[in-house]
């Protein structure tokens, strides 16, 4: 499963919205109506799923789905090198 698919799955779990409404460019607050707690919860689930910690400043910088996907892909790539 691609990172985007996994992230989508987690957003669906937290926000209970249709997967097809989640796009890479979706903004958490503006498009997905996610509040700060939704985002914290999503980060928690991502940390469990990928088995690494996401620091507070990195989490705060995540405004869109793409930000999350890029961050995770970069972390996974870093771990493999």
């Amino acid at each position: 499963m691609s990172v985007f698919e996994t992230v989508k799955e987690i957003i669906v779990e937290v926000k209970d919205i249709a997967a097809e409404d989640i796009k890479l460019e979706s903004n958490f607050e503006a498009d997905l109506e996610a509040d700060s707690l939704d985002i914290v919860e999503m980060i928690m689930l991502l940390e469990e799923k990928f088995d690494f910690e996401i620091p507070e400043d990195a989490a705060e910088a995540m405004k869109t789905v793409k930000d999350v996907v890029d961050y995770i892909e970069k972390r996974l790539a870093d771990d493999n090198t």
Binding site: L37, E41, L45
Partner: protein
């Protein structure tokens, strides 16, 4: 109901013990926590074992977990161990507390730290760990045992009162933050409850205390435990962020 689990901090004796037993009687699996630091650790463990035996006699399930809830790592491990054991945590009762009366003028920094850490920090540590788990399950009950002293203050009890009223802000904030996730947080503020401490009071002091209580008697630990049991149920889902006094009407 059978599979619901509860952790009661400081449940080897006193009100905590009664809470653990009453929850067990109503079908909860209970984690019994005792203070495993200090010189009396052995005695506390024995008391916890007695509580466990009573729980098992009722046909309920329990475990004993020693911890020092005033220390972050220990409090966190306590909650984690409960979840590991049963795979869930539905109810957290922050009950562990100590008191040492002293006029403000004579309160040392160490005494203040000790009482605040044991009574207030402990609830923060345990709640922080438990909430993380509870919001995922969209269900949780956090019940913090405060005191009428936390609402009104008392001579000689600056530390105790401050710690117990600190629970108020903690509880209401948890209630607001996680109410939408099926997690509720409430406070029980007991008045004068029969305990080892009140039993040692001179007769005239007891009589004076009782004279202020419309119920005409001291409360029993079970009076507190009965409310915990109700707040712990799904039926109490719309009660959130409340402080409920169990004081026989003393404060009205």
């Amino acid at each position: 109901m059978k599979e619901k689990t509860a952790l009661v901090t400081g449940s080897s004796r006193g009100i905590g013990r009664s809470i653990a037993l009453n929850l067990a009687q109503r079908g909860f699996k209970v984690a019994i926590n005792y203070y495993n630091g200090g010189n009396d650790a052995g005695e506390h463990l024995e008391q916890a074992q007695e509580v466990l035996q009573e729980v098992q006699t009722m046909g309920a399930e329990g475990i004993i977990i020693g911890a020092d809830v005033s220390v972050a790592e220990s409090a966190t491990a306590l909650v984690d161990q409960t979840i590991e054991k049963w795979g869930r945590l539905d109810v957290l009762v922050n009950n562990a507390a100590i008191n040492q009366d002293q006029l403000l003028l004579r309160v040392s920094d160490d005494l203040w730290d000790l009482i605040l850490k044991t009574n207030l920090y402990s609830a923060f540590y345990c709640s922080r760990t438990a909430v993380r788990y509870m919001i995922k399950k969209r269900y949780g009950r956090i019940i913090n045992i405060s005191s009428v002293v936390g609402l009104a203050g008392n001579i000689g009890q600056t530390c105790y009162a401050a710690s117990k009223s600190g629970l108020l802000g903690l509880t209401c904030s948890i209630a607001k933050e996680y109410g939408a996730r099926g997690v509720t947080a409430n406070i029980i503020a007991p008045g004068f409850i029969e305990s080892d401490m009140t039993r040692q009071l001179p007769a005239e002091v007891s009589a004076r205390m009782i004279a202020q209580i419309p119920a005409g008697r001291l409360g029993k630990a079970d009076d507190v435990a009965n409310l915990v049991c109700f707040l712990a149920t799904p039926e109490a889902s719309y009660i959130n962020g409340q402080t409920i006094r169990i004081d026989g009407g003393m404060s009205i």
